[in-house]
């Protein structure tokens, strides 16, 4: 097992991301953006993607990336969670990138390589066209189909709901099947193509809204193709598991912000001529929350390390991290609202941004209960028969 601590390199990366976010992503900016026409912050994303190189963190060096691992991506996610930053790092640089990396070996390779280069450079952003609520354990079939077109091209038709990061994506990675034949593929569709329609949905999480993707005979290129419906599914499954494992770090970062903000508030806020934070019931609740968050850090680090090393215990590590961290983030955000009292219920205070993100994150990549159910098999705690 690799270390559960942070390496010096990871700490440097964290400092760079944190500095950028402190400058470019204050809560006032996030609050101003969430109801605008552009909920994702393109400028911030450019700075993060290009200047810090976050977009290509997981991309091999030979394709222009940093060749880093899940561990470094996890540290970036901790910081993004802490700032509820509206950027497509998780959707593009983690999940879509992981799908392309998996597709490199399963497909023609060149298309994946070309796309990875574009993503690494920060010139383009991608989104995997599956619901944010999809879990690595539910093997749902896809409604999207494709047909061969001229040359290497295909045309893709169908609809996918609940796609995060689609609004800002240049490329969609669409799992699809070939009707009448036992074949499936992951297909890259440029969002500028005719027939591609991306309809934003009024979302609970204002900082990572979801959208509906409609494809009406849109042209695309095959990234990977294989026999049977599982060819596309296994790539998607791998990407979702990767996303679930790293989401734990975002949840941990989010929870840590909530705790820190709450502690700071109750130290200052006075009622009954005492700081609210001197009341024992408040103290005990925050102590319990701190314990949960300490566990979240260990679980999230463990999942990131397992994913980085492709450890045989990865499935357990990911399930444990999601089962724990998803609820910790919600709990932290809920305590943040409650212990801020009335002010935490207002739109102008950032607490609600964290609450909404935490609640959406709980659903993302499988709810905690699904991860626990997966553990029943993985660690031999079988369900009743």
């Amino acid at each position: 097992m690799t270390t559960l601590l942070y390496t010096d390199v990871e700490e440097e990366l964290r400092a760079a991301v944190r500095d950028l976010l402190a400058d470019a992503c204050p809560h006032s900016a996030v609050l101003a953006r969430i109801e605008s026409a552009a909920p994702y912050d393109g400028d911030l994303w450019k700075a993060l993607a290009r200047d810090i190189g976050a977009a290509g963190l997981l991309v091999p060096e030979e394709l222009g990336g940093a060749g880093a691992s899940a561990r470094e991506a996890a540290v970036v996610l901790e910081e993004l969670g802490r700032a509820v930053a509206p950027v497509p790092f998780l959707t593009s640089a983690v999940v879509a990138t992981r799908a392309l990396l998996a597709a490199r070996t399963a497909g023609p390779g060149e298309v994946a390589d070309e796309l990875l280069r574009r993503l690494a450079s920060g010139e383009a952003t991608a989104a995997l066209a599956v619901s944010l609520a999809a879990s690595p354990y539910r093997r749902a079939g896809t409604e999207v189909t494709y047909e061969p077109a001229d040359g290497d091209a295909v045309v893709v038709s169908g609809r996918v709901t609940g796609v995060a990061g689609a609004e800002i994506a240049d490329v969609l990675l669409v799992p699809a099947r070939l009707p009448g034949r036992e074949e499936s593929a992951l297909i890259a569709v440029e969002t500028g193509e005719r027939g591609v329609e991306i309809t934003p949905v009024t979302s609970l999480d204002l900082t990572r809204p979801v959208a509906m993707v409609s494809l009406g005979s849109a042209r695309g290129r095959i990234v990977a193709r294989g026999e049977g419906p599982d060819a596309a599914r296994s790539i998607v499954g791998e990407a979702l598991r990767f996303g679930a494992g790293l989401l734990a770090s975002e949840q941990f970062g989010l929870a840590e912000w909530c705790l820190a903000a709450t502690v700071a508030y109750v130290k200052e806020r006075r009622q009954f001529a005492r700081p609210v934070g001197s009341f024992q019931a408040v103290k005990h609740r925050l102590a319990d929350l701190w314990l949960e968050i300490g566990g979240a850090r260990a679980a999230a680090r463990n999942a990131a390390g397992a994913l980085a090393d492709d450890d045989p215990g990865t499935a357990v590590a990911v399930a444990v991290a999601q089962a724990h961290c998803a609820d910790v983030a919600v709990h932290a955000a809920e305590e943040c609202v409650q212990l801020h009292g009335g002010i935490g219920m207002t739109w102008e205070h950032p607490a609600h941004l964290y609450l909404k993100r935490a609640k959406a994150d709980q659903i993302a990549f499988g709810a905690p209960g699904e991860h626990r159910a997966a553990l029943a098999d993985l660690v031999d705690v079988p369900a009743p028969v």
């Binding site: 944010l132 009024t202 979302s203 204002l206 979801v210 006075r270 009622q271 919600v330 009335g342 207002t346």
Partner: protein
Amino acid sequence: MTAGTIWTEAAVREHARAFLAANDPSATDRMGFLRARFDAGLAWVHFPEGLGGLGAPRELQAAVESELRGTPDNRPGRIGIGLGMAAPTILAFGTDEQKRRFLRPLWTGEEVWCQLFSEPGAGSDLASLATRAVRDGDEWVVDGQKVWTSVAHTARWAILVARTDPDVPKHRGLTYFVCDMRAPGVEVRPLRQITGEAEFNEVFLTGVRLPDSLRLGEVGDGWRVAQATLMNERVAIGGASGRRTMIDAVCETWRSRPELRTHDLHQRLLRLWVEAEVLRLTGARLREQLAAGRPGPEGSGMKLSFARLHQELSGLEVELLGEDGLAYDDWTFRRPETVDFVGREAGYRYLRAKGNSIEGGTSEILRNVIAERVLGLPSEPRADKDIPWKDLPR
């Protein structure tokens, strides 16, 4: 019937039928009907005669409502603060003139009331409030800022607590007023909340002049008057029946969408179903006690339990909905007339329920109240009891 009658249910029903025979609602305009109903003592039968009541036992109101079913009502949801908080306080502490002036249009809904209690710096610790009222001849000049005021923008009157003496300990320097919301210097600004809308307002009071005739209770007695108001508020929030509808809403989703079910969610939902049922039974028992004239301390707990249940249920529902839980119905910045827990979607319920443990007394304060007043546990060491308000650390 003559004054001093002991009212029976039969007599009240008879009286209501006679009123209805004399006042055909289809032949009277709505407000005329309501005024006549008030004058007939059928507004709130436990109020005194002449003030909308008959001096009858409270529980006979149900007989009146049953006789008058289908006639125009006073839209009680819209004027809840007036009915639930202002009216009992005016009845208990108002002068005869105040009672005559305020209660009738309050009950008919002609005049909407709001509540100017909480301040940015005084939430749980309401007694530390800083809004000043300074006497100037026959008037009081009020300056300060209030917050979490629902319906302030449509209200004609407000119940207001202000500090009239900063030189005595905080509980002793307060006075209770009726505030004229049309007076110069009253400014109402909507306060947007995490659901997107603005149920509440901030109210800025700048040199607002109130005649002394709008004072309710003695100068310096505002804390005692406010306590009566708050007790009525918590009973109103916690005691409301029909709250069980949130479990019904979640169960409907559960039944209609079998594909969403997991054993984890099932076990959690069953627990919450039991909790909701136990709470329903607790409320039923409480109402029986009230009807028997033996109000139990369980009342203090209902609001606390409802807040918890609402929060758990709505959180479960969003999770159950999965992808649909990622959506929200409407973030529009608007002013809703009421809180609609079942008409809107799961995301709204989830966010709005967060307020249930804050508004009208936080769950933390209510636990203190139970521990100290019901269980008789000793209070915390208090640093602020005997110090003049102006000298308190802030």
